[in-house]
Amino acid sequence: MILGQKQLDEIHDALTKNLIGSGVQSVMLIDTAGNVIASIFNGNETIDLYSLAALAAANFGAMSCMAKIVGEDEFSLLFHKGEKENLYFCKVNEELLLVNIFDNQISLGFLRLKMAKVVEELLAVVAE
């Protein structure tokens, strides 16, 4: 997969406007092989993003296999609740996944609304 400068800028803008602007701490767009395509870390640059991407892709792959075992085509989102930090994974298309790290000040419902919007915008960008 090769994304040009313009597409990467548009991806960065869509993630910043919809997610970072809404209070999400960090967001990462990865592919299902575990490669990092775009990442924005809002004040938490110490996170090991390459390891997180590898594990997130594997986690999503494992969940997809589990979905098939129980008769679902897929589980399109994953949510992990922590004491202070939470993780939210969402499938963009067959190749791309979005990973969000956010604290308890944002409600999951609000984040889901924002995610729906950003997924729409990302799909338009990668289709260019």
């Binding site: 090769i2 800028d9 092989a33 575990g34 490669n35 390459y50 390891s51 594997a58 296999c65």
Partner: protein, 201 residues
């Protein structure tokens, strides 16, 4: 396929260590991790069982510095070797750019090596990749077992079993002692980068 970021000028390529259970895939990665600490900016991730067997994968990114104006990051992965973990092996193979097949030199492991390389061929086909085309290096590991009085397969037999048809570069190695571990890695990195360059042209 590798991910190439034209904005940040970064290439991320994925190399997977494959082979039967207990052949030394994790030991290879652990040795590289220790030897290349300055080029690794993160902890090695290991998803393993209580008995220390790899459950999902081991992983760390290796920073190769600038090549042709691009920052090249090699993502090193292992797979779980045991037969029952085939679905996780397939997941790790997704997007693979190069493979190191680690064979166990012990006489008793001959059949397991053959089954594993066939399994690699089958799992690559799922992603429309051909074992004959993908950058591949074979490592005949555990050559040091002979010094402990354990019978090992001779290289001719291993080559006949695993490399007659493929004819890929192969190395005798001892991952525990570190013999030829880095050489194996250098070879697969150079084959993988050459293949990526060819695909880009």
């Amino acid at each position: 396929m590798a991910f190439i970021n034209l904005k940040d000028r970064v290439i991320q390529a994925k190399i997977v260590y494959y082979g039967p259970g207990r052949c030394g895939k994790t030991t290879n990665l652990e040795y590289v991790y220790e030897k290349c600490r300055p080029q690794v900016n993160s902890e090695m991730v290991t998803v393993k069982t209580q008995g220390d067997r790899t459950l999902f994968f081991d992983f760390f990114p290796l920073d190769m510095g600038k090549i042709g104006g691009f920052d090249v990051k090699i993502q090193l992965y292992t797979v779980p070797g045991q037969v029952k973990y085939d679905s996780t092996r397939r997941l790790v193979l997704k997007g693979v750019d190069g493979v190191v097949f680690v064979a166990d030199s012990a006489v008793g492991r001959r059949e397991k090596n053959i089954i594993s390389i066939r399994n690699l061929e089958d799992n690559l086909k799922i992603y429309n990749k051909d074992i004959h085309d993908i950058p591949l290096v074979i490592q005949y590991n555990k050559r040091d077992l002979a010094e402990e009085g354990i019978e090992i397969l001779d290289i001719e037999t291993l080559e006949k079993d695993l490399n007659t048809e493929l004819r890929v570069p192969s190395f005798e190695a001892s991952a525990v002692a570190g013999d030829n571990v880095v050489l194996t890695l250098k070879k697969i990195i150079s084959l993988t980068l050459a293949s990526l360059e060819k695909q880009l042209k």
